[in-house]
């Protein structure tokens, strides 16, 4: 629900000296993405993807850096970033487990898998395990309706999922 505004008045921004948007990333974006578009702002999604790829999430400081880099205000960057569910503005576990809950997956029994996941990890959807290993999310259609139920683990799509196969896979992760 991209339109829900979160209270931000008391929010503390964590800072670190080292930039998140490193010079190497900037050079890469400047070279690969900026020339593709008529405005610098249009390179914002690729920039946010690059930051998330590097750090596994997008801290506020990184959004400020992206704003400066692209000639935008920080508010403009937050405005865009907060709209997209796949941009994680809070730290998440090393392995993000996203289980599809849309219609074809529900028809093919995603519910029992979700229940077992909740049981095994001891967390509800939206939460991260205490050791920071797993974050569990329910997500809408992954485009694998023909091979439902579908679960995405980090960027890795698991299709025709059974609990046995999924559990074995999760146990094999570091």
């Amino acid at each position: 629900m991209a339109w829900i505004v979160k209270p931000s008045a008391q929010q503390q921004m964590e800072r670190r000296d080292q930039p998140y948007l490193t010079d190497a990333l900037k050079t890469e974006i400047e070279k690969t993405y900026i020339p593709r578009y008529a405005t610098r702002r249009a390179a914002l999604l690729p920039t946010l993807h690059a930051i998330q790829h590097e750090h596994n999430w997008i801290p506020y400081q990184a959004m400020e850096e992206a704003a400066e880099f692209l000639g935008l205000t920080a508010a403009e960057v937050v405005d865009t970033a907060s709209f997209y569910e796949e941009f994680h503005l809070h730290p998440k576990g090393r392995h993000l487990i996203q289980i599809c809950q849309s219609i074809s997956c529900e028809l093919c029994g995603h519910e029992s898998i979700l229940e077992k996941l909740i049981d095994k990890l001891g967390i509800e959807p939206g939460e991260t395990t205490a050791d920071g290993k797993f974050t569990l999310e329910t997500i809408e259609c992954l485009g694998s309706c023909g091979t439902a139920p579908a679960v995405m683990v980090q960027e890795n799509l698991r299709e025709n999922v059974t609990w046995e196969k999924l559990e074995t896979y999760l146990d094999s992760l570091e």
Partner: protein
């Protein structure tokens, strides 16, 4: 009628012609060996006006959901004025039950790239952006690879065989989304491409006149573009020999050409299959998808992505073409992602599932969509748990019918999805909803849309 040879699936092994286990990504060389990029060479020597005319005559209709004539859309473009013009390829495919564009991108990306080049040439567009949903990680990589091959072989770039297009170098880029269904709506997509929230724009102006970066822009679906090489190569008469004219009247546009149908849910062999437009759903399920799972009886299906609404138990043989909306009281053919439900399916739960999707994906600009879908979801949860009343059913129906681009209360068509799912479910399965409801002891007068009187 039935397709004799696979067309879009020519290089993608698909039953009954091939085995899905033999699928692999077709490389540039393999594509060329099997006649690929011949159509582009042919198109190069056809004038742009003739190309647009040919596509118009073929009566190719958009494969992304709305079914708008591709040639007609192109003809709305103003004449070139020396400034940039764009193609936005819609590969955002996020509608539950839809997984057909993924098949093309995964296994035969050059078919789409050739279509892109043809479209850019025909419409004088110098830059194409392929907007692909964020969750398609693997597919984005496949595309990057295919585009690199196409540049290396002078399809795009400085040395493109098309020369300059719109007075510029022809370029093609991948642009990744980040998990927002609404970016599949064409103007939401443009906003997202510009680095903003994917908030659909109020139309007019239409994108053909003022689209990406305020410039003329064509937006087409992956499958629509993948169809182009075949039409250019084999002619518009060939295209019209597949599928059929509308049976609703002479002036109603027909349903021509082959089509990818996704079949999911309670069938034995779910998957994407290719057939002529107009195939009966029952035939698609029995012949291609291996029939109903566990020999169960058919109860309902959604013809093309969850926005379309439900077909009833007696509509198993509904013809899958663009007439389906008017003939079977659903929104339309949509994405042709057929979701099949057997006799044990809880329709109330499925309606709840669909409405939750739309509530979650609403971009929040329009009140009927933002608030209405949230309310409808809560009411459906209550009815599902046996806590609803008959009165709830009527309010639910009224809330749903009040939202959408068709009632004219919202900017885009997302809210119509909630509308059609709810109203068709209640219309076609009312007893099932009623059996879950308690009769309300006290009648409370609530008027939706007015000030609350509760």
């Amino acid at each position: 009628m039935a397709l004799e040879q696979p067309i879009l699936c020519k290089r993608i092994p698909t039953p009954p012609w091939g085995d899905i286990n033999d699928r692999k990504t077709v490389t540039f060389d393999e594509y060329v060996c099997t006649g690929g990029y011949e159509a582009l060479k042919k198109a190069k020597d056809i004038t742009q006006a003739d190309l647009v005319e040919q596509i118009k005559k073929s009566q190719l209709r958009g494969r992304g959901g709305a079914g708008f004539s591709a040639g007609l859309k192109w003809s709305f473009l103003p004449p070139p004025d020396g400034e940039p013009r764009y193609l936005a390829v819609n590969a955002d495919e996020s509608e539950p039950g839809t997984f057909k564009d993924r098949l093309i991108v995964d296994f035969d990306p050059h078919m789409m790239l050739e279509g892109i080049a043809i479209c850019c040439h025909a419409c004088n567009l110098d830059t194409a952006y392929i907007y692909i949903r964020g969750e398609y990680h693997r597919q984005a990589k496949v595309l990057e690879q295919a585009i690199a091959e196409a540049y290396a072989n002078n399809i795009f770039g400085q040395k493109s065989i098309l020369g300059q297009v719109n007075g510029r170098v022809l370029n093609c880029y991948v642009h990744r989304g980040a998990g927002a269904y609404i970016c599949g709506e064409e103007t939401g997509l443009l906003e997202s491409l510009e680095g903003k929230r994917g908030w659909p724009r109020i139309k007019p102006p239409f994108p053909a006149v003022s689209g990406l970066f305020g410039r003329p822009t064509v937006i087409n679906n992956v499958e629509t573009l993948a169809m182009l090489p075949f039409i250019v190569e084999r002619g518009d008469a060939w295209f019209r020999s597949i599928g059929r004219a509308s049976t609703l009247g002479e002036n109603v546009p027909g349903s021509f050409g082959p089509k990818l149908f996704g079949v999911s849910g309670h069938v034995n062999r779910p998957g994407v299959y290719e057939e002529e437009l107009g195939i009966a759903m029952g035939e698609l399920i029995d012949k291609y998808a291996g029939g109903m799972r566990n020999g169960k009886k058919f109860k309902s299906a959604i013809p093309g992505g969850v926005a379309m609404g439900f077909l009833g138990p007696d509509e198993y043989q509904a013809d899958l073409d663009f007439d389906i909306g008017r003939k079977h009281n659903v929104l339309g053919l949509g994405t042709a992602g057929v979701i099949v439900m057997d006799e044990d399916t809880d329709i109330v739960a499925m309606t709840r599932n669909i409405v939750r999707f739309f509530a979650r994906e609403s971009c929040g600009q329009c009140t009927p969509c933002r608030e209405g879908s949230g309310w409808a979801y809560q009411m459906l949860c209550r009815i599902e748990q046996g806590e609803g009343t008959f009165n709830d059913l009527d309010i639910l129906d009224e809330v749903a019918r009040s939202m959408g681009a068709m009632p004219g209360t919202t900017i885009c068509g997302l809210a119509d999805g909630t509308n059609w799912a709810v109203k068709t479910a209640i219309e076609k399965f009312r007893p099932e909803f009623e059996s879950r409801c308690k009769s309300s002891l006290v009648q409370v007068n609530v008027s939706v849309g007015g000030s609350a009187t509760v």
